[in-house]
């Protein structure tokens, strides 16, 4: 009789969670062939398994990370399969794979060093094993494309043949890494390893988990944030076909049924009473007033940056400009709504969920079920979009495991409706900013001030203490602004309305560069100078901002003539260790329809691991930001979010997509992020072009509130 452990070991070797009937692509299992190190497994048939620790949500890091390992490993890329690192093994091996979070545009830049070292280390071990087998000095052996050659004798062997012996060796203490200019796999537009599965319909997302005997849960959470469940009248839906249980929880109620549609339909008919919790009179208007008080209240303010004396600086200026800018709450709207499939059985927890941080899901599942970390298994899946929603909050995992626990040892698939997803998000914070600048007689800024009145994600979501009361995300792009201005003062008034906030793609850089770069444009205008030349003059020549601004303006032909009615705008900023710039060319007709003729997006991310993927991320960022800036507006009424689905939270469509040109201007020598920076310079470039076209300064988003529509 096979024991459970043996059965699982065998089924894992067969390449899938077959024990649970969940079909995975063949490479997606913790392989049993010899492991050279935690990142590299080589099979006797020369297949190379490269492990990937973080999440794949379309940002392409699964492939780029593998390129870095393969480059140093000197394997045959056509024999590479990428496999997720298993979170249970990760815990048992004391975090052998390090950080698993795909957040902050830092998968590549944070892991590149240890990934490359892992590839180089594995290569060395394979070489030593081959050399030992030949009784030859390892210095006379080289590896290329998975083949090891002994130079003097011409003898050859393959990785697969020496992998068994290599796995027994101690890892080398030191390795040398290649110079990126010698890259053959990294730095190339290698095709993404997951695209064939996507295109064939084989890829699996969290929502696709399927287990024998599984039941389904739909939930309703209190429409007013912070409220609790008071009562439900389960009797009203008990007789409905397929309904199994009604589970009242502290802040939500779940209906469990034999398929999800039945659960969701039954939930619609369930009478629910909420204790709203006190915020049911909050509205967008009251929240705006609350934020405005932050701008005017002299007492409750912290200083994020102070160069020189502001009052003096402004007093000495020939001209002083002042403006207020505003950006609204935004929803993530990942196309796959939140969800989690879980089974809690005999003290063991298995979870399938689309998450940006499998480690966080693992920890949450353990804490929720009350079991040791070693008893949890988080099964890895592709994400149907992340954009920051699935990293910093694991609310859906907490719920999924709670419900599974309540259902005994029956597997439960929890899935949110789009309405729940829209109305129970952790929104991009709104922000109200007042800026002032003093210009000298030549129009150059001599003093610059910004006060930000906005919620703090770090305080409210992560509940972490702030250094000197400053939330870096709230003041980013202001506190670290790059222009040569002698007097700079940045202040932060933390104001936390009851609406939960979180990390939305590009976070503080999704809004602050819009405000800063539009205001810089106002200064340029007041100075009577060309917005590109004005910035160029204020950015020290050696800075990366200067470099990417020039490259983008050049590619856009900034100084050249434009067709009649077409106008330009420009912006530049740092974000996530990369430097981005944008030039927008557009026309606006008398009905305020904005026809974007061309969007030129430049990025300097230092080293480029996969150029085609960087281009894809920039193109995708354009859609994400244009959607947000034209229509994105989460509004509050009676304490709850007014929007619910794509009919009232509009998404951009293919026909509205403008021509986007991407300028890759990598200057080498550093590792900048790619997933998020692309958004940062777009809104100001567009709004600056709108000013050129219409004479109207846009100081708040979305554009629909100013009567603009996209062509």
């Amino acid at each position: 009789m096979t024991t459970r452990r043996e059965f699982l070991k065998v089924s894992t070797a067969l390449g899938g969670g077959l024990a649970f009937g969940f079909h995975l692509p063949a490479a997606n299992a913790q392989s049993v062939a010899p492991e050279i190190n935690a990142w590299v497994v080589v099979r006797p048939d020369d297949t190379v398994i490269i492990r990937y620790a973080r999440s794949e949500m379309g940002q392409g890091s699964m492939t780029s990370a593998a390129q870095l390992v393969a480059e140093e490993l000197e394997c045959d890329w056509s024999k590479v399969r990428v496999e997720y690192a298993d979170t249970n093994a990760h815990v048992r091996r004391k975090r052998a794979w390090g950080d698993m979070a795909a957040v902050g545009s830092r998968t590549i830049r944070q892991s590149q060093d240890y990934l490359r070292k892992a590839g180089a280390g594995a290569r060395e071990m394979l070489l030593i094993a081959a050399a030992q087998g030949w009784n030859a000095p390892v210095a006379e052996c080289t590896a290329s494309s998975g083949v090891i050659t002994h130079g003097p004798s011409g003898r050859k062997t393959s990785f697969g043949k020496v992998a068994g012996e290599a796995a027994k060796l101690a890892p080398p203490k030191e390795v040398t890494l290649k110079d990126p200019k010698d890259w053959k796999i990294a730095g190339k537009p290698i095709r993404r390893v997951d695209i064939p599965d996507i295109v064939a319909g084989r890829i699996r997302y969290g929502i696709d988990a399927q287990l024998p005997g599984m039941v389904y849960a739909a939930i309703a959470q209190c429409p007013v944030f912070g409220g609790k469940l008071k009562s439900v009248d389960a009797a009203k839906i008990e007789g409905r076909r397929g309904v199994i249980r009604v589970l009242p929880m502290e802040d939500y109620v779940a209906v469990v049924a034999d398929n999800w549609w039945r659960a969701k339909e039954a939930l619609k008919e369930l009478p629910i009473e909420w204790s709203f919790g006190g915020n049911e009179s909050a509205s967008s208007e009251s929240i705006q007033q609350f934020l405005r008080a932050g701008l005017d209240d002299p007492s409750n303010v912290v200083v994020a940056r102070r160069d020189g004396e502001l009052e003096q600086g402004l007093a000495g200026a020939a001209k002083v400009l002042e403006a207020e800018y505003f950006t609204p709450y935004l929803a993530h709207a990942t196309l796959e709504p939140m969800g989690c499939t879980a089974v809690v059985k005999d003290g063991r927890v298995d979870v399938w969920t689309s998450t940006q941080n499998a480690e966080a899901s693992h920890a949450t599942a353990a804490a929720t079920a009350g079991v040791p970390l070693e008893n949890v298994y988080v099964h890895r899946v592709q994400l149907g979009g992340g954009f920051g929603r699935r990293g910093g909050s694991q609310d859906f995992v907490r719920q999924g495991v709670q419900i599974a626990k309540a259902m005994g040892s029956t597997p439960v698939k929890l899935l949110w409706t789009r309405e729940e997803d829209t109305q129970h998000d952790f929104y991009r914070p709104l922000s109200l900013v007042r800026m002032k600048a003093g210009l000298d007689a030549s129009g150059n800024p001599v003093a610059w001030y910004a006060r930000v009145s906005a919620p703090s994600i770090i305080s409210t979501l992560l509940k972490l203490p702030l250094k000197e009361g400053v939330d870096p995300q709230a003041v980013v792009s202001f506190a670290d602004q790059p222009y040569a201005i002698p007097v700079v003062r940045v202040e932060y008034a933390q104001r936390n309305p009851h609406v939960p906030v979180g990390f939305w793609r590009t976070v503080g850089h999704s809004q602050n560069p819009f405000m800063r770069e539009c205001f810089v444009d106002e200064l340029a205008s007041a100075a009577g100078k060309d917005p590109y030349e004005y910035r160029r003059g204020l950015l020290p020549a050696a800075t990366k901002e200067h470099g990417v601004l020039e490259a983008t303006a050049k590619a856009a032909g900034w100084a050249g003539p434009l067709p009649a009615g077409v106008h330009r705008g420009i912006a530049v900023t740092e974000a996530y260790g990369s430097y981005v710039a944008a030039v927008a060319e557009l026309a606006v007709n008398d009905k305020n329809v904005v026809d974007i003729k061309r969007l030129v997006l430049g990025i300097d991310c230092g080293h480029v691991v996969n150029p085609d993927n960087v281009v894809a991320q920039m193109q995708g960022s354009a859609v994400f930001m244009l959607t947000a800036m034209f229509w994105g507006d989460i509004t509050i009424k009676d304490g709850r979010v007014e929007q619910s689905n794509f009919h009232d939270y509009r998404m951009m469509r293919l026909r509205e997509m403008p021509k986007v040109e991407v300028v890759l201007a990598p200057s080498g020598g550093f590792w900048g992020g790619v997933g998020e920076p692309g958004q940062a310079a777009i809104a100001p470039a567009i709004c600056n072009a709108l000013f050129a076209a219409t004479g109207r300064r846009i100081r708040s988003l979305p554009l629909k509130n100013h009567g603009f529509e996209i062509a």
Partner: protein, 154 residues
């Protein structure tokens, strides 16, 4: 009992006639490529073909598919081969997260069957599926490429 042919195979399901085809496919028949994005026919992630026509299955009652042929992404090409649209999708590295792409591919296939050489305007009108990752530029390029390949059968 409702009978329908899914990817060439006859299936019988004992469900409410108003149950959306999407959930019959996903939860009853274990056909996973049509996805749930909105439930109100706004996003198109649930797009399948019913008797060759693209349909948003989240808002299509299974009773309306009775006796008909349903095609999902899994059934688009025989095992081991790829449809020219799928090939173009790989050539041009179209998908990012991929969640919407089953619907996008089926919408594109339906378009090309009607208009083997679509103009940009044809593509604008037919391709209304939402892509949150923003792969629209590559979708357009790939459709033109598939059309040019001449391999798409009407």
């Amino acid at each position: 009992m409702i009978q329908l042919t899914v990817n060439g195979r006859s299936r019988e399901v004992d469900v409410e006639p108003e149950m959306p085809l999407l959930w019959v496919l996903r939860d009853v028949l274990d056909v996973k490529s049509p996805k749930f994005g909105c439930g109100i026919a706004q996003c198109g992630a649930c797009t399948v073909h019913v008797n060759g026509e693209p349909v948003r299955s989240c808002s299509f009652p299974v009773s309306a598919a009775a006796g008909k042929r349903v095609l999902t992404l899994e059934g688009l090409a025989p095992a081991g081969r790829l449809h020219p649209v799928q090939q173009a999708w790989i050539e041009h590295q179209v998908p990012q997260c991929g969640y919407c792409q089953g619907g996008q591919i089926l919408a594109a296939v339906a378009l090309l069957r009607k208009k083997p050489n679509p103009t940009d305007k044809d593509i604008d009108e037919a391709m209304t599926n939402i892509c949150r990752c923003g792969t629209y530029a590559r979708i357009r390029t790939a459709i033109h490429a598939a059309a040019k390949s001449g391999k798409v059968k009407a």
